[in-house]
């Protein structure tokens, strides 16, 4: 019984770490490329900076989306683990 719960908790922790970590990697690389291109373009044509900045924020919001969804799901698994509650109800009914 303790073995089962430790198993599920351990795997959940690793799963949450992978979800958040890989999401952060993708977002960081994306923001880096986006910011670099923005700086290049604003150095080349300073009069377009305000228009480009609006579009920068729009694309930044889109980049954030999937990693935020990943963070939300990972935190849901850590604090309200549905897999753990399924296992516990099955163990209770079996006992």
């Amino acid at each position: 019984m303790e073995g089962l719960i430790s198993n599920i908790s351990g795997f959940t922790a690793i799963a949450a770490a992978i979800m958040i970590g890989l999401g952060a990697c993708g977002t960081a690389i994306g923001f880096g490329i986006l910011g670099g291109k923005f700086l290049e373009a604003s150095a080349r044509q300073p009069e377009l900076v305000s228009m480009l900045q609006t579009k920068l924020f729009i694309i930044a919001g889109l980049l954030d989306a999937i990693s935020m969804i990943g963070v939300g799901i990972a935190l849901l698994f850590i604090f309200n683990n549905p897999l753990l509650s399924t296992a516990l109800t099955l163990a209770k009914t079996a006992a």
Binding site: A60, G61, A65, M68, I69, G72, L75
Partner: protein, 258 residues
């Protein structure tokens, strides 16, 4: 109470079962429902007041500030929406922006303020989530309404048969109809799902981080909480703006033929 109990208590919604029903489907999160309704009424009240008392000469600072907001929304619609004249797009975008912004703004209130007020009422263990957009139900409600609008605009600009024909014949031509249908349906379904989950994920993660910071000792709270709160102010405005811009983009795409 233990740390986990504190966190779980702060993440539980005040769920009320509709009278005479059973099961989880017929329970409402009464905190999300009433907070979003109240904030919607505040938005309507402020803007109706401004519309009634708008002055051409000698506008006050109040009126000028909201004219700024309205100009921003107008500018975005003019840049992005290519579907011809529509009387609905600008009011819709203004509503989405202001309502989502007000709902997100609730996240900046202290985490334990709800507990304090409930303690004064004599019921310190009551659940009440203050941020409606950190509830999947609220964000999905808005994005499913946007989905209905997308389908409505598609049908209005192409006709019902024209839209159905486009579903099976774009982008590969009528011979590959099943693949076309699959791609189009995935695209159609991905739009509201990503809209809802983007807003939910950002707000849920922000609120959870505030709860985790509230568990730290006093000095560390200020050290971590201040930068996170400042960053979160940006996120609050940005997510409302993104929701509005993506709504306008999707509606504009709905009126264009492939």
């Amino acid at each position: 109470m233990t740390t986990t109990e504190y966190i779980v208590h702060h993440l539980t919604h005040n769920s009320v079962q509709l009278p005479g029903t059973t099961g989880h489907f017929w329970s409402i999160h009464i905190d999300t429902f009433s907070m979003s309704l109240m904030l919607g009424f505040i938005f309507l009240f402020i803007f109706t007041l401004l519309a009634r008392c708008a002055k051409v000469e000698n506008p006050g600072k109040f009126q000028l500030f909201f004219e700024l907001v309205l100009d921003m929304v107008h500018g975005q619609v003019k840049d992005i929406y290519h579907g011809g004249k529509s009387k609905v797009i600008v009011p819709l975008s203004l509503t989405i922006f202001c309502w989502v912004f007000l709902m997100n703004l609730m996240d900046l209130f202290p985490v334990d303020m709800v507990g304090f007020v409930n303690g004064l009422r004599g019921d310190p263990e009551a659940h009440w989530r203050m941020v409606p957009s950190a509830d999947v139900n609220a964000t999905f409600a808005m994005s499913l309404s946007v989905l209905v609008l997308i389908i409505g605009y598609s049908i209005k600009s192409k006709g019902l048969l024209g839209w159905l024909k486009e579903l099976i014949s774009a982008p590969f031509g009528i011979k590959l109809a099943p693949i076309n249908l699959l791609f189009q349906l995935i695209e159609l379904v991905a739009k509201p799902i990503s809209l809802a989950l983007r807003l939910f994920g950002n707000m849920y993660a922000g609120e959870l981080l505030f709860i985790l910071i509230a568990l730290l000792p006093w000095g560390a709270q200020w050290l971590l909480g201040v930068p996170w709160a400042i960053f979160h102010i940006l996120i609050v405005i940005l997510q409302a703006f993104i929701f509005m811009v993506l709504t306008i983009v999707y509606l504009s795409l709905a009126t264009e033929a492939h």
